[in-house]
Structures are given as C-alpha cells and as structure tokens.
Amino acid sequence: MTSRHPPVQDWATDFDHTDPGWVGDPYPIWDNLRQRCPVAHTDRYGGMWLPLTHELVSEVAYDTENFTSRSVVVSERRPGPDDLPAPIGLAPPITSDPPFHAIVRRMLLPAFSPKAIAALEPFTRELCRELLAATAGRPSFDAAAEYARHIPVRVIVRFLGFPQEDADLMRRFIHETMEDVDRSPEEREAVLEEHEAYFDAQIEDHIVHPRDDLTSFLIGAEIDGSKLSEAHIRGTLTLLMIAGIDTTWSAIGASLWHLARHLEDRRRLAGDPELMSTAIEEFLRAYAPVTMARLVARDFDFHGHPFKEGDWLLLPFPAANRDPEAFENPGVVQLDRARNRHAAFGLGRHRCLGSNLARMELRVALEEWLARYPDFELSDPSAVTWSAGQVRGPRTLPVAIGRNGG
C-alpha cells in the first residue's frame, strides 16, 4: 500500500499512519515514541495527536467530555456542519457520545450477546470448511485472499440479511472507507454517496419484505416510542459492515501469519486444543488490528500538550497492548499468557459491540485451519503485504502447506 503523502521525517512531530514504514511494521515506531514522547503530534490531516502508553490510551478512552467520537476514522475530511451532529453521529453508536450512545448501544447489545452469537457458529464453521476444501491438494496459496478475508464478510452479510453475492461489493466499500483516507474531500464525498445508495436500497427491500435479520430488527426498533430515522439505520448498518469485516479478517490473517512463522507455537496449538482460549487472547493482544480515533471536543491541556477543539487524536489500542508497563515481555507472543488485560476491543463505553462475534470467528477459523493444515509456513515472506490505515492485518499471505497437512 503506497501513501499519497510525502515520507515521514520525524515520527514524533510528523507521524502518518498511512506511511509505508508504519504500515509494514509499526511496533518499533510505537516502542520508540513511547519512550521519547509519549504523545506524538503531526500537522498532517489538519493536526493530530497520538498517545502511546496504555495509561494515556485508557485515559482518552474513558474521557467522553474532552473527546468526542463524532468521527472515528481519520481522513482529510472532518465532519462538516451538514453532517449529523453529535451525539448521534454518522454511524451510531460508534460515533455517538453520551447520553444518546448508551440508549442506542443498549438496543443493539442483545443481538451481539454470546448466546446470540453462538447461533452463528455452525454457519461459520461450515463456511471455513468449505473454503479450506476449495484449497485441497494445492501446495501453496494465499491464506489472506482465499481464506481469512471471506469469513467475516460472509458471516456479517448473513447477519445483516444482505445477499451473499454482495460480499465482494462490501469488501470494496470497506476498502474505500478505511484505506483511501488520503483522497481529496470531493473524491471521498462521491464514494460515500454510492455506499449510502446501496444501504438505502437494502433498507427499502427489507421494509417491503421483512425477515429475521438485523436490518429488519433495526427497521422495527424503537427508541422512546419512535422508529429510528433512515439515516440512523443506514449509519448503523454501515458501522456493522465496516467494523465487522476488515477487523476480524485482519485478526484471523495476523494469527495465521504468526503461526506460519513459529513452528513451536503451531505444533503446540495444533496438539493442544485447550490452549486455544489463551492463544486467541494473546493473538488479539499482540496483533490487535484496530486503532480508533477521536476528535478533541474543546481546548484543554493534555499532560502539557495544547489540545485544540477539532484536533484529531489517534487512539492506538494495539500500541497500548505493547506497553511494557502494562504487559510483561509485550513483544513476545506467549500462547499461554494467563494474565492478559488487553485492550484489543477498546476500553470503556465504546467497547467493541461485536467482540463476541469476532472471538467466535477467530476461534472457529483457527480451529478449522489447524485441523486441516497443522503444518504450514510462509512460502514467500517478502510477498506479505499489510493493510494501511486504522485496521491492520495481512492482505497477501502466501503459505506453503507442509507434508503433514491436507
């Protein structure tokens, strides 16, 4: 992924999360900044801050007075006066602030509870098996493109009640939303309009033909006796699509990337299914895909830094997960790490709504993979590519299947 921006000169004063250096390997950059700053700044994107320690990331996540979630994806285009104002925001509840946030979130939570998510497990497992069956007999293939990336999109499309054949379209929408963040405001406007039109058509279809899925659930939902506005429904559908696909695809891919490069871990996990529960949390800690963002809500002093209303703040939960003050040997992946208070799903009231869904998909994807391919490695380490922007995971992951696999 190439950035349209000039190369970064100094990470402490000129950082850019789309720079190839960050995209390829952000961990040394974060470790260095954590010691040097630990709050970095850049003039790019109109001005943005970056706290690096677990303590500071937590502080921001819990502070909904000084920081607003009105926009959580950093781009050249900030929310303008014509956009939905906080507390609702463009994609509720992730872009909502208190007190509206809690009301919307409460409405959605039951659909994402562990019990509700368990109902999707058989579909997910069957899907994983199908995808793996399609690779049968091949000595090598791309585990990101042919396995990881198909799983969350197909599950979420089923969950929302969209046609399964629209999975590719969904992936393009996500790419345009999450990765093309350095396009001009005019280009982004046009792209977002196309997305809106698609969701409006889906909502319309569900109004005419109600069925048992999340879209129909949202159409029927009420807050204080009032139906949700079409903009609210569209925003929440957009959120669930974006938040539910790229992220888990990245987590599955990064876990496979780790296992492909660590023979001992691969053998231990393939041989001991009991290890899976701590292993999953450790993969989520070490390779947490999601970095969130906030907008500074008002001028104030943040640990000696002059935060101004409207400044962006990048909220790197993955960097918090690598803070040695919070985790012993954070750079080392320990599949049996017993004490693991990681923040991969965020902290505070915006805790990832879909965390139970993500965990289920990651667990099933790894279980099915290891059952079929206990022995595999990277066939060409230099060909591995990573996504740019606020969701990090491998997008090309060529693996060679060992003699014992398949």
Binding site: R106, L109, K115, S277, N340, F345, S355
Partner: protein, 72 residues
Amino acid sequence: MTQATFRVHVDPDKCQGHNRCYSVSPELFELDDLGMSSEIGTGIVPAGLIAQARLAEANCPEHAVSVTETAP
C-alpha cells in the same frame, strides 16, 4: 479449622461486557441479556476456584472484577 473466605464481585458501573471473566470462569459469573457480567449468587468462591477467580480479576480490561479475602 476455619479458612479465609474469598468473594468475587463485578462492579456494574465498570463492566462493559468484554466477557473475559465469564470465559475464564463460568462457574463464578453469569451474563445478562446485554452480555454484562455479574457474580453468581453472593460471589463466595469455593476453595477449588480461587485461582480461577484471581484469573478473572487479572484479565478484566476494565478492572471491573475484584476478589476480596476475609480473614476467618
């Protein structure tokens, strides 16, 4: 001979439904319809589950789970 009593508690104001305590120790915690956790019953931890209770405490990202020990 009496022994110390261990009690586990989930602070409902801090719990955000990460579900870590429940996955570590379903014997000690239960989830409501929203996926939020609370201790089962009075939260008294059976002798065989003290290590589990400690793990639940150590894995809560929100520091919502606490284990307290009362001397006999």
